[in-house]
């Protein structure tokens, strides 16, 4: 591969540009049942934790999932044991994998985000991904993404408290471009483009019942591909693609559109070995095209 530059983000270097997306590999306790440490080290550049909040969250009542044509609506509602329990119970095992761990954080307020940033600063965590885009919780979540000035405050505040890798995960809806610029100005190291799309599934007709949640998977790839393409012209910080990456070809297309790393999300749910397959296919494509072609947007 013509220089592995593409998996450098800020001052951080990753062994591969493939990160496991938040919420799509559990809390880590069952990961090793399906991928061995060697596989993880060779295919996975970083592990992005399930969205963690200051206090434990029980998550939403069922149904939490709804399959759509080539997509998945999820409404997990950020079920998680809370940052502190996570650090005690799950983090040690994950650290042993010698693969960078990025903490996906969800706060109901700026203060909660700041408190978590301080905790993570203390333990010298490697990275934070700010989740300002979860469509499945009432407070915080996607509401943040609608206000570029609030996002600016948030990122600036976290930046002051946390010196490691700082990523903001954008919502694909709302004033995306303005929010992206606000993140860049507030010195975010990179942007994840993007979280799931607000969606709805009708799961019962009589009585009429719906599931509201976020859409992921191949269905959304053309939408997120366009966001990456447009954002790469607007901001200079690296973009991490997240949306419907199921094959090396998908990642390659995101690369061509300007992404420098790739998150594997829904693909992990379909097949826990997906990261290995995708990483391999990507390498083959890079070889086939004789190195990564220069970006040449039209």
């Amino acid at each position: 591969m013509k220089g592995e530059r593409f998996c450098i983000i800020g001052k951080y270097q990753f062994k591969t540009p493939f990160f496991l997306a938040s919420g799509t590999w559990g809390l880590g306790d069952t990961l090793l049942n399906y991928l061995n440490p060697g596989e993880i080290r060779s295919a996975v550049g970083a592990l992005i934790t399930k969205g963690l909040s200051l206090e434990p969250m029980e998550g939403n009542p069922p149904p939490r999932l709804f399959e759509t044509p080539c997509g998945l609506i999820n409404s997990i509602g950020l079920e998680n044991p809370g940052l502190k329990v996570f650090l005690k119970k799950y983090y040690p095992q994950l650290k042993a994998l010698q693969t960078p761990i990025i903490f996906n954080l969800h706060g109901k307020s700026l203060e909660e985000f700041f408190e978590m940033a301080e905790i993570l600063s203390e333990i010298e965590a490697e990275g934070i991904e700010l989740n300002i885009s979860c469509p499945n919780v009432k407070e915080g979540g996607i509401a943040f993404s609608q206000k570029p000035d609030v996002v600016f405050e948030l990122v600036k505040g976290v930046r002051e408290r946390f010196k490691g890798l700082l990523i903001v995960k954008l919502s694909p809806v709302g004033p995306v471009f303005e929010v992206a610029k606000a993140c860049e100005e507030a010195l975010s190291d990179a942007l994840t483009v993007a979280n799931t799309y607000p969606a709805l599934g009708v799961y019962s007709y009589e009585p009429f019942q719906v599931i509201k949640g976020g859409l992921s998977g191949p269905a959304i790839k053309p939408l997120t591909l366009r966001l990456v393409f447009e954002l790469s012209k607007i901001v200079k910080i690296p973009l991490i693609a997240s949306g419907g990456i199921l094959s090396g070809k998908d990642a390659f297309e995101y690369f061509l559109c300007g992404a420098r790393a790739f998150q594997i999300g829904t693909a992990n749910l379909i097949d826990p070995k997906a990261p290995i397959k995708i990483c391999q296919e990507f390498k083959e494509l890079v070889e086939k095209y004789g190195g990564l072609p220069d970006k040449n947007p039209t």
């Binding site: 919420g23 799509t24 590999w25 559990g26 306790d29 069952t30 990961l31 049942n33 399906y34 399930k50 029980e58 998550g59 009542p61 069922p62 149904p63 939490r64 999932l65 709804f66 399959e67 044509p69 080539c70 997509g71 998945l72 999820n74 997990i76 079920e79 998977g217 191949p218 199921l246 829904t266 992990n268 749910l269 379909i270 097949d271 826990p272 070995k273």
Partner: protein
Amino acid sequence: MEKIKVLRNLRLSERIYLLELPKKGSLLDIKPGQFLKIKLHDLRYDPLFPRPFTVHSLEEGTLKILYQVVGRGTLALSRISQGEEISVLGPLGRPYPEDLDFPLALCAGGVGVAGFGFFLERLKEELRKKTILYYGAKTSQDLVRLDYFKAFGIEIKLTTEDGTLGEKGFVTDLLERDMRDGKIKTILSCGPMPMLKVVKELSEKYGIKTYLSLETFMACGTGFCKGCVIKKKDGGYFHLCEDGPTLSAWEVIL
């Protein structure tokens, strides 16, 4: 997931099929009550997710899945021919619980009977004698694999809603009669949700230990997505693919 070649895909009735796969790799470790997920290999993303199926039998060198065509995924599976490759992942989930007291009632609605085959294959001969299979369906042609089940030498009680085979009515009516008579110590039940709700009610009414093999849509089956939740009686949720698919009837809210 592991690629595997289909040995046979047999149509048993209008909507019910028997899929035969070679026993190999991680599939050899599977235990009764656990499940696999199966995906077709055809470059197509709809349906997006593999479908979960209980292991029906692991005798005779083959692994058998008993399944019913209900939608896109199972329709596509039903069209797979011998020799074609599919992908499987498993074992997933937990085996049937071990603290079963006998006499044991296996209560099945429709293809819910699938997992009981494998269970009986592994059950000791003397315990089989204390096991009764209650097996109900809409109509006689949906009562499949009867010879196979008869060969275990267990007592079998059949019902159909239209009375074309066995007793006419619901399988839970038959079960309740025997529960009332105190004939049963544990119930293991699998079938459609309305049936399981009745079984749960009966188990509470008669105070008989009962396990239900439940279903939800599963995106991962591996504990990754946290989507397959069933409400716990005392708050919080079970994740069916990790904690189940078989749960104590008394601990869940359906």
